[in-house]
């Protein structure tokens, strides 16, 4: 009985370790968080009530993705279940990483400069160009 628990425990540990070393799942998790964060911000652009705390939480989500992203595209993760990452990532790794750096810098700057609805509406659309700049080159098209 004790041994069974031990084995199950080991298996669970192994599973957890495996999950952590799955860069495809991890980077997709970050991008899904980004999408959710962006969704909240986009809704405000379309007339939902402005809420500074939500904007800041979204910016922190983008910043987190920008910091962790560069390490989640190791050479052995070019292909795999459900990935839309294009080979161009590994052909232009430095440029690809620079996109994350720009996203991080821009998010940090906006955390300081967005103080109210007016500054939000004038400054946030530029940040989204960072999304398109990278997705246009490095992610396979949807559908």
């Amino acid at each position: 009985m004790k041994r069974t628990f031990f084995v199950i425990g080991l298996a669970a540990l192994g599973g957890a370790a495996l999950a952590q070393s799955d860069p495809i799942a991890e980077r997709q998790g970050l991008m899904k968080a980004n999408a959710k964060a962006a969704q909240a911000v986009v809704a405000m652009l379309k007339g939902a009530p402005f809420d500074l705390a939500t904007v800041q939480a979204s910016l922190k989500t983008f910043l987190n993705a920008a910091q962790k992203g560069p390490n989640l595209f190791p050479d052995d993760s070019k292909t795999g279940e459900g990935t839309h990452a294009l080979p161009a990532i590994w052909e232009n790794k430095a440029d690809f990483i620079a996109h994350f750096a720009k996203l991080g810098d821009d998010s940090t700057a906006l955390l300081g400069s967005i103080k109210d609805e007016a500054s939000f509406k004038s400054q946030i659309p530029d940040l989204f160009k960072d999304c398109g700049a990278c997705h246009g080159t490095y992610r396979a098209k949807l559908e």
């Binding site: 962006a38 989204f128 160009k129 398109g132 997705h135 246009g136 396979a140 098209k141």
Partner: protein
């Protein structure tokens, strides 16, 4: 028997003559009248025409980062072969520095070059033909303000029979409609503006529709989505059908054109990412007009 041969020979000859006549390039404007079209031209307005037209997407010099160096040479891969869009910078030798407004108008509205030959419809004159002369004049003023780039694009590499340029004349008889749009007074000014942007300079249907074996848009499926020119991706259906995009509100479309973000927070990628960089710089009213028109299209499943 001999008479039959003669008759066949004569018939073949007649066909060849008819084909040659039918396939003749027909520029819309006479070059002799160039000075009349030259008056005015506002480069600031022309910049907006340039943005909605997406000219740089194909004409920008590849492998460098300045989007305004329009030296051409980008490889546009299609099922018919590879097109290499030409240099449209104001360089007098390699670009279009010697062009008059009349030359740009003939290129965009009738697909005919200054020396009187056909352009391939990789240049989407099937849409650009709907542009106003005023917009073309403004666009010319803007193009003249850009940096000169020397060097020419390689020649197109196309499979036979598409390599026969004269054949484009026959293609035009089938697929190239009359130039210009007539405003629909029963619709709002916003809708008419949207139709102009979408069906004219914006040339949305060129990617968002399927094409037949000759590369013509299948009219019954216009805006119902199609493969990207390289065949690797798919441009989505833009009609308001019950699919994902069809369910977007007018505001969703406006926001996506301004930010590149879909209502669920995803980012538009592929070729559209570059278009968003252009469209995001247009006045809000133009993005609203585009959305208004797209929402009015007949739904196609």
């Amino acid at each position: 028997m001999k008479r039959l041969f003669v008759a066949l020979f004569a018939a073949a000859g007649l066909c060849a003559v008819a084909g040659w006549i039918l396939s003749a390039p027909r520029p819309l404007y006479a070059r002799d009248d160039w000075s009349a079209l030259e008056e005015g031209g506002d480069a600031t307005r022309g910049h907006e025409v340039f943005l909605i037209g997406g000219c740089q997407a194909c004409h920008v010099t590849p492998s460098q980062s300045d989007p305004l160096r329009l030296g051409g040479g980008y490889e546009l891969k299609t099922p018919f072969g590879s097109f290499y869009p030409p240099n449209i910078s104001p360089d007098p030798n390699d670009g279009i520095g010697q062009w008059k407004v009349v030359d740009l108008a003939n290129a965009l509205q009738s697909g005919v070059s200054p020396n009187g030959s056909h352009y391939y419809p990789a240049l989407p004159y099937t849409s650009y033909r709907n542009m106003t002369l005023a917009d073309i004049r403004d666009l010319m003023a803007y193009l003249r303000s850009l940096p000169k780039v020397s060097g020419r694009a390689p020649a197109h590499r196309l499979a036979f029979p598409f390599s026969v340029r004269r054949g484009v004349g026959l293609w035009k008889l089938v697929y190239l409609g009359k130039p210009g749009l007539t405003a629909d007074p029963s619709r709002s000014p916003e809708w008419n503006r949207g139709r102009y942007l979408v069906e004219g300079p914006g040339h949305c249907a060129e990617c968002h529709s399927p094409r037949d074996v000759f590369g013509g848009i299948i009219a019954s499926r216009r805006f119902a989505g199609g493969p990207t020119p390289d065949g690797k991706g798919k441009a989505p259906n833009l009609t308001p059908n019950p699919s994902r995009f069809g369910q977007w509100s007018k505001e969703d479309i406006e926001t996506a054109l301004a930010t590149g973000l879909t209502p669920d927070g995803d980012s538009l990628g592929g070729e559209m990412a570059a278009e968003i960089r252009n469209l995001s710089q247009l006045p809000d009213s133009d993005r609203a007009a585009i959305a208004e028109y797209l929402k009015s299209l007949a739904p196609i499943p």
